[in-house]
Symmetry: C2
Amino acid sequence: MAAAGRRAQVSLEAPAVILIEPQLPENIGATARAMMNCGLVNLRLVRPREAWPNERAREVSSGAHEAIDKAQVYPSARAAMADLTRVYATSARHRQMIKTVMTPREAAAEMRALAARGERVGVMFGPERAGLENDELSLADAVIRVPLNPEFTSLNLAQAVLLIGYEWYQAGDATPPRELVVNGTRPAEKEELLNFFDHLERELDASGFLRNAEKRPGMVRNIRNLFQRASLTRQEIRTLHGIVKELSSKRENRPRRRKTTASD
Amino acid sequence: MAAAGRRAQVSLEAPAVILIEPQLPENIGATARAMMNCGLVNLRLVRPREAWPNERAREVSSGAHEAIDKAQVYPSARAAMADLTRVYATSARHRQMIKTVMTPREAAAEMRALAARGERVGVMFGPERAGLENDELSLADAVIRVPLNPEFTSLNLAQAVLLIGYEWYQAGDATPPRELVVNGTRPAEKEELLNFFDHLERELDASGFLRNAEKRPGMVRNIRNLFQRASLTRQEIRTLHGIVKELSSKRENRPRRRKTTASD
């Protein structure tokens, strides 16, 4: 933890995170960590309760020193957002206000689009216990509310920041939703798979497993389907050949179980 | 905090959260809180380092007592997943394994689909520092990896659980992505808006603001567009009528600025 803070992969257009009157340095540190998880480094503190810079916040940030060291302190929400063009307020509660309310996912898509055309955006988070005041909400373009279990909405500050940052990151991320990691080997070609089927079925015929001629075609199809579903790699096909060979050779070296049973 | 744990809105088919060798009771408590945020209560602990039940875990759960009190302890990952039909392993690192890797969003959609047809699913999380062992990963159907800043992937246990749970919750949630909350009043009908335009433009004509006949049509259109963009409610239209009326009457009761300036 004494090591220098790791440098995050950040984009200049990433949203500023504005914490209004944060109380605990631990929460600021955890917020910085969540920010850097999501490639955010622009942290703005409005009237933090404890003195800033704060060593405790730096300690609990798990190395998110870049966000901690660059954090700026402001006297008011107004001052903290002065250079931004669009500001979102986070709120868990329904308010007596006429306001656009967005999900984090929708807001993230909008922030990406705004940033792409050069706008500077920010997201405001209220103090740990009370959340944002209505006056602060009225300074924001729109409210972000996270859809969560309505009977248990208690979300700590860093977790709220994490969910907004997570959606921001996902909105610009191209990770394939699902991928078979083949780790140096490559997916088997069908001929390799079909050669394995030949080997397996030959041994199953020899062992008597497929001796019921009426049921044999259905059993063979079931076995083939099972292995098809596994999306085997070339290396795995070789392993399966080895397994079948080894099991068969053991069978050949000892009396077959069925015969043994019959002679008992 | 002494109050009884709030009862979460949970679904029976929600995934089990399996923590392998969790070290700190604080992390188990924070995990329970994150779970209940997302409507999950099925918590399974495999060889927790500290004794269970654990009062410290209960304290830091911020009232997520249902998940804490129902948590079960198991001697092995195998025992903890015995009754499940599909298990996902979370991992931040790339492994030397041939394995399907999914994003939390893709996994959440799959878990919802599986649960809808009666399957019982679970997600496995490794110990705080080391993560899951390869042997444990080999017990899972697929790996979930959260796309995050590759240069700062340090995510604590409860935050990893929160992100998976968040995606599970979103996959079953019907919150509109964007909504104008009108809070008891209703969106203005066009006639109400156009009546306001008439009032405003009449007063702007009277004040001389629109005296340039050539520029007048363009100025009027700009002003109308500005107010159209605000998606005004009926109540707000009334407020704007009041503002225009009040400003106009002040103007009528005092010399016009232009005249004053001219006579100086």
